[in-house]
């Protein structure tokens, strides 16, 4: 086979490969969907984080506004410290509520932010003081059984 025709076929092959990689990156992967680049970090303390994982979504009114960066256990206060990366475009008042919710019955857990009414806003490095822990199903059931038992007495 002559040289140029060979080059054309190999060129088509390479371009097809690059197109497939581009398709995987944009259409299948999350390279474009979470374009949260410039972020500021805030912290929240939880007594129990349930099944929350790093890179879990932060949602306000259902809109993804950030990601969980890291989760560590504070050995002095015995609670979990969750650091949250929030997109720079979004600002929240100081008395924002942070709750751990579950997406659906068996879905993954995320943090929901509910804005308060404070005039000053959260800045980088601030701490969210009002938090609500993840719902632990065992606790809920034992509470229910305990109430049931006390009703019958």
């Amino acid at each position: 086979m002559e040289r140029t025709k060979l080059d054309i076929w190999v060129g088509i092959f390479v371009i097809l490969g690059l197109a497939a990689l581009f398709g995987l990156a944009t259409k299948v992967g999350n390279l474009t969907s979470n374009n949260i680049k410039d972020t500021y970090t805030i912290y929240a303390h939880f007594e129990n984080i349930g099944g929350l994982k790093p890179r879990a979504a932060i949602k306000a009114a259902g809109v993804v506004v950030g990601r969980v960066n890291s989760i560590i256990f504070d050995t002095e206060a015995y609670h979990a410290v969750v650091s949250i990366d929030v997109d720079n475009r979004y600002i929240f008042p100081k008395d924002t509520f942070a709750n751990i919710y579950t997406a659906g019955l068996l879905g993954e857990q995320y943090i929901g932010l509910e804005a308060g009414g404070d005039m000053t806003n959260l800045a980088a490095g601030d701490l969210i003081t009002q938090t609500q822990d993840a719902v632990v199903l065992e606790k809920l059931i034992s509470q229910f059984l305990y109430n049931k038992a006390s009703e019958e007495e």
Binding site: L6, D7, W9, L16, G17, A20, L24, V28, N30
Partner: protein, 261 residues
């Protein structure tokens, strides 16, 4: 007592010959690296080999990828439907293809389609004394024959695996969305939410590069090492497929246990 000694000697000699072959294979790899500079000066040779190993493998890769994707879509749908989460079919198809099936099935097909061709070609060149003729003419057979095929395999394999994954996902899309009627938006958005570029797609690409190296070097070495007879070449070709397939599956387990903890 004599039987016992014979048995131990048998184990020893087979181990020694396997180690010798491993050493010879490693030596061939370093020879390829040394002669790569010479062979890159005539890049046309490598491009020619990319045509034979890569472009000509496209048809079998695309067709099998589409069918693998369609089967994944069907089987996944039957199971997921029982739990009322048939929208997760996109995630299932994409993760299965990008992480595992894309690189592994491509490597197995690559060993069968391109690896055997390489072994048979080089083995036959050796049997008809073309390699010796080159050496007589002061042309290094490693630079002229082996190195271009090695780099062609290393370049073709990741490209083929990427195409396999993408076409497979399109096959899954065809069955799940167009035939069964899963919601199209949920299909793609759940996929994007759960497939991570730097973890899943890049790790799949790393796998395909490792498999490409294993398949190509095994095919080249078996051809180069084949006894110069018709029977020797045919045995070497068989060994290429067997060893490549086992190497790919074994390496896949090791890589998976490192990557997706």
């Amino acid at each position: 007592m004599n039987n016992m000694l014979n048995f131990i000697a048998g184990v020893g000699s087979s181990f020694r010959s396997k180690m010798t072959r491993l050493g010879a294979g490693t030596r061939l790899f370093f020879l390829i690296l040394i002669y790569s500079v010479d062979s890159f000066k005539r890049i046309g040779l490598t491009i020619r080999e990319i045509y034979f190993t890569g472009v000509l493998s496209l048809v079998i890769i695309i067709v099998s990828a589409f069918f693998v994707g369609m089967v994944l879509g069907l089987q996944g749908y039957y199971t997921l439907e029982k739990y009322g989460s048939s929208e997760a079919i996109g995630v299932l198809v994409a993760l299965a293809l990008v992480r595992e099936l894309g690189p592994v099935v491509t490597a197995l097909l690559f060993a069968g389609r391109a690896g055997t061709a390489i072994t048979a070609e080089i083995g036959l060149m050796k049997a008809t004394e073309q390699l010796s003729a080159m050496e007589v003419m002061a042309v290094s057979p490693v630079a002229r024959i082996i190195a271009p095929r090695f780099w062609a395999g290393m370049i073709s394999m990741p490209i083929l695996a990427t195409i396999f994954s993408m076409v497979g996902i399109l096959g899954g899309y065809f069955i799940a969305v167009l035939v069964i009627g899963v919601d199209e938006g949920a299909f793609w958005s759940q996929m994007q939410a759960n497939v991570d570029f730097s973890n899943d797609i890049v790790d799949g690409a790393i796998k395909s590069i490792v498999f490409g190296f294993a398949c190509t070097i095994i095919a080249l070495f078996e051809g180069f090492d084949a006894p110069p007879t018709a029977e020797g070449v045919s045995r070497a070709t068989t060994r290429t497929v067997v060893i490549s397939s086992l190497a790919v599956l074994g390496l896949d387990f090791i890589l998976t246990s490192f990557m997706f903890v």
